[in-house]
Symmetry: C2
Subunit: 162 residues, 2 copies
């Protein structure tokens, strides 16, 4: 499998998991949280999946396509290790869906980042809320859910907050 | 359709066209020319499709994944408007497959670049050789070929050199 093949598979897995997550949170009130804006492609997909919900986006420094920049009052600008704890008053227990994809090519660094962020993300989720993530984030308060058809085990992860 | 959807479609179209091109040049001797290295994902795919062929790569400044960097003697380093004419002695009429994807988000600039490069690329192709390109490059010496199933008209292009 080439890097082009595996990149396509990762994007397809991401999209399938986000689409599934949208079904799963249909009955759950709350906002959406995108952990990392990047070029804004995933944010654009979330906007289309959730036209009625507020979408908050964490980003260190915005470098997205101009049409994919969130409104300033929904942007948590800075290092997530600072902005997520600071957002706990505003967003704690109010997130219906959070999405994380470290997105770098360094698998070890990605896993370390995911492990560090897990305890900052979980308290923001509503009970029953969903976390979709490329990196594993298991824990007692995050129950793994089955993946959509066509997504291989481990390629992406869906968790439900207890 | 979200930007995530359209990005996935573009990558799938690229892969389908390269895979089809590999079948089309099976009986044609010659080298492969990748016009732009980027992160090296497409180069990696070409390496897997053509393990027996020399693959030459144009790039202004290499910034690819370390495992996707071509050997120095197959790298045409610099602006393609300089390197392609300079390569005519070495590669003229010897390319079985060339691939171009401008890859920026600016459609107008992409088309302008493609139009400028077309007369530099066509003479490098062998008669019967294939050009796979995201941007249209029709011309009297480049005959459009049907696209693989699932690739919408205009999303990618396959041409055969007369």
């Amino acid at each position: 499998m080439s890097r082009l093949d595996s990149f396509i598979r990762r994007l397809e897995a991401q999209r399938a998991c986000l689409n599934r997550a949208a079904e799963l949170v249909r009955g759950i009130d709350g906002v959406v949280l995108e952990l990392g804006l990047g070029n804004g492609r995933t944010y654009d997909h979330l906007r289309q999946l959730f036209p009625q919900r507020e979408i908050y986006v964490c980003e260190r420094q915005v470098a997205a396509h101009p049409e994919c920049i969130p409104p300033a009052d929904r942007l948590l600008l800075g290092d997530m290790f600072d902005t997520l704890p600071a957002a706990r008053n505003r967003l704690g227990g109010k997130v219906a869906l959070a999405h994380f994809d470290a997105g770098t090519g360094d698998a070890t660094a990605n896993l370390k980042l995911a492990a560090g962020l897990r305890p900052l993300i979980a308290p923001l989720l509503r009970p029953g809320g969903i976390l979709a993530t490329q990196q594993a984030m298991e824990g007692p308060d995050l129950i793994p859910l089955p993946l959509p058809e066509g997504v291989a085990e481990g390629r992406y992860h869906l968790y439900q907050r207890t």
